[in-house]
């Protein structure tokens, strides 16, 4: 395990980001499962992306309230509408009033046109669960893991609390935003994990996201994950042996073509992985590509140092 990765995976509030299609959900689900298996009550939150985590974990689809899907593992989805309703109810503390006002067609329209209000309420929900306490004062969820949206949207989502805290006048909203921002920016509790593929665009976006995380979002950088990395097919000594073969010899053509194509991809992937390691400065964990399908969840849990089921 890469230096420092373990403690970053033990933090209270972890957010998993990356370009669309790189395997964020797989990584977030594996982090959550590892945590739950270590006996910590863990909440996995998915943002506006129906059923991805549930499918990865092989459990029933997530709903708007946390539900225990495996021992100590709770799953919950966040949608702008659902989160707004919950948040409004918390503020208004009176359901009839909520229904009267927020279910009003005109008001619904109006709220929809406030940019980032959906993100704000979703982040608010995440914060609420991260701070939720049991009657004895202990945390209800010892860890909250967020499967964030793709890059651009993720930056909006994570920066919304600070933005609101900075621009709104003193009041309910500013107080809530300030508390949310403090959790996101916490040096002790939060971590921003970046997932990428060993390819040009995903690495670029991963690095952009990380720069935003360290800069504008003032977050603590977590672990870097390089997903779907082809393992070396041959050692360097074996490569020399293969290179000595005559591609024109009868019967060898397809084999040498296959090996050459595979090695070229490994080389390019290696170069992008290296670039990501150097530019990010993160402890990096590599998830190998094991077949044409997505890597199995259990394998990733093992890579994270988690225990077996």
């Amino acid at each position: 395990m890469a230096d420092g990765a373990q403690s970053l995976l033990d933090r209270r509030f972890q957010v998993v980001v990356g370009k669309g299609g790189v395997g964020r959900t797989l990584v977030a689900s594996a982090i959550a499962l590892r945590s739950a298996r270590s006996g910590r009550r863990t909440l996995l939150l998915e943002v506006n992306a129906p059923d991805n985590c549930a499918a990865t974990l092989g459990v029933a689809p997530a709903v708007d309230v946390p539900r225990e899907v495996m021992s100590e593992l709770y799953l919950c989805r966040m949608t702008p509408e659902g989160a707004m309703r919950e948040y409004a109810l918390l503020v208004l503390k009176f359901k009839a009033l909520y229904t009267l006002v927020f279910e009003n067609r005109l008001v619904k329209y109006l709220l929809r046109s406030i940019p980032s209000l959906g993100e704000f309420t979703m982040l608010g929900k995440a914060w609420y669960h991260a701070e939720e306490r049991l009657p004895d004062g202990s945390l209800k969820y010892e860890r909250v893991i967020i499967d964030a949206p793709a890059t651009g949207h993720a930056i909006t989502f994570l920066s919304v609390a600070r933005t609101v805290a900075d621009i709104t006048p003193p009041g309910v909203m500013k107080d809530a935003a300030e508390k949310m921002a403090q959790l996101v920016e916490s040096k002790d509790y939060s971590a921003l994990h970046v997932v990428t593929l060993p390819e040009e665009m995903p690495v670029n976006e991963g690095l952009e996201m990380l720069a935003a995380g360290r800069g504008k979002l003032r977050m603590t950088a977590g672990v870097g994950f390089v997903n779907r990395r082809l393992p070396s097919l041959v050692s360097s000594a074996e490569a020399t042996t293969i290179d000595a073969l005559d591609p024109k010899a009868p019967g060898l053509g397809p084999y040498l073509q296959a090996v050459a194509g595979r090695r070229a991809r490994e080389r390019f992937q290696g170069a992008h992985e290296q670039r990501f390691r150097e530019a990010s400065g993160l402890p990096v964990l590599t998830i190998p590509e094991l077949g044409p399908g997505p890597p199995a969840l259990e394998e990733v849990v093992q890579i994270l140092g988690g225990s077996k089921p």
Binding site: K19, G20, G21, Y87, A88, V91, L97, V101, N104, R105, L106, V107, K108, Y109, L110, L111, R112, S113, I114, P115, S116, A150, T156, I167, T168, P169, G171, V172, M173, K174, E199, E200, M201, N204, L233, V234, E238, T241, I242, A244, L245, D246, A249, P250, G251, L252, G253, P254, Y255, L256, Q257, A258, V259, G261, R262, A264, R265, R267, F268, P292
Partner: protein
């Protein structure tokens, strides 16, 4: 028999590349544009968010919305045939396009300025869902109707989408988000020349507004009111252009290309179906990143010959086994992908389905684009 991609490329005025993220939309758009310009058509490729190296290869600057002519010598230097007609590229900048639209079409200079300076306007122009798609359409409309330097063909690279309809419905969604019953109700005093904030916070004037402002804070609502007021007077223009774009998309010289990968062939089929049911013309379905078949054009395979050759070169039998296994695995995968493409072909009613083999690396230069172009057009 439907016209093939070569025939369509001679007559199309717009090619719109749609598909999920990460399937090579930008590079495919560029390859299509290069092919058209080689055939003497004045072509512009409009991309959304190109990889940096690909942008460099196309000569695109860091900042958006600037049309750049691609220097033919960039091709000849690499030993590639240059375009025979002007080929240019442009990167769409969402915020700038909003600014351009507001600047060009807003009827009232003073309100226009207030709108451009509204803090929510900046957030809205980049964060509002569908904003990218809508601005791509505004830009497409502007480019296709311009009279100076007319273009024969515009190739549009679209933002990643889950469904083809996301793109098609964007203009209506945005217009609806900015102009609806709620907006008009909120803005009523504006038209009566009263102060907007007075209406908003007049004690007793609105139970609704007071309740919402407990939730959002009052300043936010004021900004929102100002924002929506700022757009007043623009909606007729928005609607007229959205209608013009709708006609443009439905024209028989507008071609959609559905891009995907063999592993996401289901999504390709879904895109095709949703476009077709709206009577939009899908000219091609492209499955990028297909696994190359190692048996393709490499002669016969003889595992015994491989084992003997490896052992002669000092390698172990186990190495030979591993090489045979990985070759077999690739061939099996390639065959499965071809079979999937065949099923897709049956489902898309004669639309050409093109399988483009995976290259070791993402396409990021003109040489890579050339290989992709050959894969598409032969």
């Amino acid at each position: 028999m439907r016209p093939n991609v070569n025939q369509r490329l001679a007559i199309a005025r717009c090619v719109i590349c749609v598909g999920p993220g990460g399937v090579g939309k930008t590079s495919t758009s560029a390859a299509v544009a290069i092919e058209a310009a080689r055939r003497g058509r004045r072509t512009l490729v409009l991309t959304i968010d190109p990889a940096k190296r690909l942008a460099n290869a196309l000569g695109l600057p860091e900042i958006g919305n600037e049309e750049r002519l691609i220097d033919p010598s960039a091709f000849t230097r690499q030993g590639l045939a240059p375009p025979t007609a002007p080929l240019s590229a442009m990167m769409l900048d969402i915020k700038r396009t909003w600014d351009e639209v507001v600047t060009r079409h807003h009827p009232d200079p003073e309100r226009r300025q207030r709108l451009l300076e509204n803090p929510l306007y900046v957030a809205m122009s980049t964060a509002l869902a569908g904003s990218q798609e809508y601005m791509a359409m505004e830009k497409l409309h502007e480019l296709s109707s311009r009279t100076h330097d007319p273009l024969d063909l515009i190739v549009l690279d679209t933002p990643p989408a889950n469904h083809a309809v996301d793109f098609l419905e964007a203009p209506n969604k945005i217009i609806d988000a900015l102009d609806n019953d709620a907006t008009r109700w909120l803005l009523e005093p504006y038209h009566q020349k009263k102060k907007l904030t007075k209406k908003l916070f007049d004690a007793g004037s609105s139970f609704f507004i007071r309740t919402i402002s407990r939730f959002t804070g009052t300043e936010l609502l004021t900004d929102l009111g100002e924002l929506l007021a700022g757009f007043q007077g623009m909606f007729d223009g928005f609607r007229a252009r959205a209608e013009a774009v709708r006609k443009l998309l439905a024209a028989d010289t507008t071609d959609f290309w559905v891009l995907s990968t063999p592993l996401q062939a289901d999504e390709a089929q879904d895109f095709w179906a949703r476009l077709s049911e709206r009577d939009l013309l899908v000219a091609a379905v492209v499955l990028n990143r297909a696994t190359p078949d190692p048996y393709d054009g490499a002669g016969p395979a003889d595992p015994a010959a491989l084992l003997a050759a490896i052992q002669r070169a000092g390698g172990s039998p186990e190495l030979a086994q591993r090489v045979v296994a990985v070759t077999q695995q690739m061939a099996t995968q390639a065959a499965a992908e071809r079979a999937r493409a065949e099923v897709l072909r049956g489902a898309v009613a004669g639309t050409p389905v093109i399988l483009v083999p995976q290259r070791p690396e993402d396409v990021h230069d003109l040489v890579g684009l050339e290989a992709l172009r050959q894969g598409l057009f032969g």
